[in-house]
């Protein structure tokens, strides 16, 4: 591969272990290979979820029935949500790039518990299998939406039990991964690397791991309570059995709001790695960015109630949650400010990873500021459960985590595979994705304010022009994604040989060959106290 490879080492891709073929992947203990098999699974699942999204957009191109029945539509948005949330974006960046790069960034040979890491992947695949099977077995796909709101989820005849059990199993994988990363960061840092010498992606993964570890058991218990209620008639959530449906929402969102930070914190970490590299400038406010990750994770635990302003919650709780929601914007804004300050007077190089990072900031800021509308009780009541929420959510999750994932894969692919993708095609694909994304989701802000409800199969004719624009955006985005993925696949398989440090980065992954050797470092790495030491 690269010039430094010539017969000097065997990369993790070429290393011949105990097993061969596919077994050398699914039985691997190497954190890098585990990262890659997570990525392959996630790309397949993302493609299925995206196809479902496109089918829903086609259905909404005109009022009334277009290509599917109402019940199919209900199943479609539920399955789209379950796949995208539980199988793609929650594990997403953390399991792929966290697994691959966290040990390298802190100068370790592997994660603390390699066997547990492999087990996490198996549990993840089992959960994915159960979730997909739930769509085809018993009484058809669940029609509750990915939130499984009670009391409907306690009474609907669709296949809720298996889907919730799948989410429960996926949660286990998440907990084990979080635990592994926390111990890795505490115990496996190279000699001389203190906490405040770690690259900021490691800090983001650290904050994410704590959230995974502490929040996920809550949704696990909640889903088990839901299953118990359906199977044994125990009245947790159904008022007719003496339960409280608002309790379900509390328990669900105590996990699922922090889950948003499980999705977005690693994304913030990726962007923080990319910006100094492509500006060739030391990151502005290292400690503020590191601590803001912890602050986002901490405060993010306490804001779940803003999903419930119209649920019948008490007024006192509503203003309290609204106040806390505004607080969480502060550490997020610290990051954006520091990124912009880093760019100021930097030697900016507009390569694809940086373009994706820039579009991340743009889209995440739109998602964040529209989030404040939803965090404010008065405006939330107006736009709750409308297309506005769909737009806000996708700007944060897809525009945020999704574009950060694209940024990360364009940034680290040369390191992961030792080969380079076609830069021109990557730039064109970025342009198509950016235009398609905004055309798809921005009209939904307007539709929502005008009163278009979300999760509705049908709508009034007055909404059609913007629905058509949104659907056109969906086609453009899918086209851009196919173009982008094909370019990346071609680059990984047959691209030009990449040098060890194509972007002139300073963090540890750029100091080792591409692709990395099996145990990353042949000798203990020399730790620079400043990981972003651009002269």
């Amino acid at each position: 591969m690269s010039g430094n490879k010539k017969n000097e080492y065997v990369s993790y891709l070429e290393h011949q272990g105990k097993y061969k073929g596919i077994f050398s992947w699914i039985f691997t203990l190497d954190h890098k290979r585990i990262g890659l098999i997570y990525m392959y699974a996630i790309i397949v699942l993302f493609s299925i979820g995206a196809l479902m999204g496109l089918l829903m957009r086609i259905e909404l191109i005109a009022p009334g029935e277009t290509i599917m029945k109402p019940q199919t539509y209900n199943g479609m948005f539920t399955v789209h949500g379950i796949i995208m949330i539980f199988m793609v974006v929650i594990p997403g960046l953390s399991v792929v790039f966290g697994n691959f790069f966290l040990p390298i960034l802190i100068g370790a040979k592997d994660v603390a518990f390699p066997k547990l890491n492999r087990f996490s992947w198996w549990v993840y695949i089992t959960g994915c299998g159960l979730a997909i099977a739930s769509q085809f077995m018993q009484n058809g796909p669940p029609d509750t939406g990915w939130t499984f709101y009670a009391p409907y989820s306690t009474t609907t005849g669709s296949n809720v039990i298996m889907a919730t059990f799948a989410a429960f199993v996926l949660g286990f994988s998440s907990i084990l991964t979080g635990l592994n990363f926390i111990v890795t960061i505490h115990q496996m840092r190279a000699p001389g690397m203190k906490f405040f010498n770690m690259p900021l992606f490691s800090w983001a993964i650290y904050a994410t791991a704590w959230t995974q570890l502490l929040a996920t058991p809550i949704v696990g218990i909640t889903l088990l309570m839901l299953i118990a209620e359906r199977l044994f008639g125990i009245g947790f959530f159904n008022p007719s059995l003496g339960g409280d449906p608002v309790l379900f929402q509390h328990l669900f969102w105590i996990y699922s709001h922090p889950a948003v930070y499980i999705m977005i914190l690693p994304a913030l970490g990726v962007i923080t790695e990319i910006i100094p590299t492509f500006c060739q400038k030391k990151i502005y406010g290292y400690k503020a960015i590191a601590l803001s990750s912890l602050a986002i994770a901490g405060v993010g635990f306490l804001v779940w109630g803003h999903h419930m302003f119209t649920s019948g919650m008490s007024d006192q709780a509503r203003w309290f949650f609204s106040f806390l929601t505004f607080l969480v914007a502060v550490p997020s804004a610290i990051k954006v400010f520091n990124w912009l300050a880093t760019m100021y007077k930097g030697s900016i190089d507009l390569k694809p990873p940086f373009l994706y990072a820039l579009s991340f900031i743009f889209l995440f800021t739109i998602g964040g500021t529209t989030g404040l509308l939803l965090g404010s009780v008065a405006t939330d009541v107006q736009v709750h459960d409308t297309a506005f929420v769909v737009a806000h959510f996708h700007y944060i999750i897809f525009g945020g985590m999704g574009f950060a994932f694209f940024a990360a894969i364009h940034y680290w692919l040369p390191k992961m595979y030792g080969r380079m993708y076609n830069m021109k095609r990557a730039t064109i694909a970025w342009g198509i994705n950016f235009v398609g994304f905004n055309l798809l989701y921005f009209p939904q802000f307007i539709l929502g304010i005008e009163g278009m409800p979300r999760r509705y199969f049908d709508y009034l004719p007055q909404f059609q022009p913007l629905e058509v624009v949104s659907t056109i955006g969906g086609f453009i985005l899918i086209g851009g994604l196919i173009f982008m993925i094909s370019n990346l696949v071609q680059g990984a398989r047959k691209g030009e040989i990449a040098p060890a440090n194509p972007w002139h980065g300073t963090t540890l992954e750029w100091q080792i060959p591409s692709p990395p050797p099996l145990e990353n470092f042949d000798e203990a790495p020399i730790i620079n106290p400043n990981p972003y030491d651009y002269k």
């Binding site: 502490l214 608002v246 509390h250 105590i254 901490g298 635990f301 306490l302 109630g305 019948g312 919650m313 008490s314 007024d315 006192q316 709780a317 309290f320 949650f321």
Partner: protein, 94 residues
């Protein structure tokens, strides 16, 4: 373990902890005979919290761990307490 040192807790200490845990379980059942209204959950959680303290300290050897680890575990308890408290703000005023 801090500094990878193993600690073997005396059986007598472990037996005392078991007795304390069983007593607290009986106390949990006993207090249900009083009508504490909105405070019934609070009392149950407090007793459960004390039980968790004993389990973590003696059975899970937190007593012998570093200050950092003990602080991290304490923070988790504080976090869960705050989450429960906030949830009860809703229930108290609904």
């Amino acid at each position: 373990m801090a500094n990878n040192v193993s600690h073997i807790t005396d059986y007598k200490v472990l037996a005392r902890v078991v007795l304390i845990l069983m007593s607290l379980t009986l106390l949990t059942i006993f207090v249900t005979s009083f009508h504490l209204g909105a405070f019934s959950v609070t009392v149950a959680l407090l007793i459960a919290g004390v039980k968790a303290f004993f389990i973590l300290t003696y059975f899970m050897h937190l007593k012998y761990e570093s200050l950092l680890l003990r602080l991290l575990v304490t923070m988790i308890f504080v976090l869960y307490a705050v989450i429960i408290l906030i949830t009860f703000i809703d229930y108290a005023y609904r």
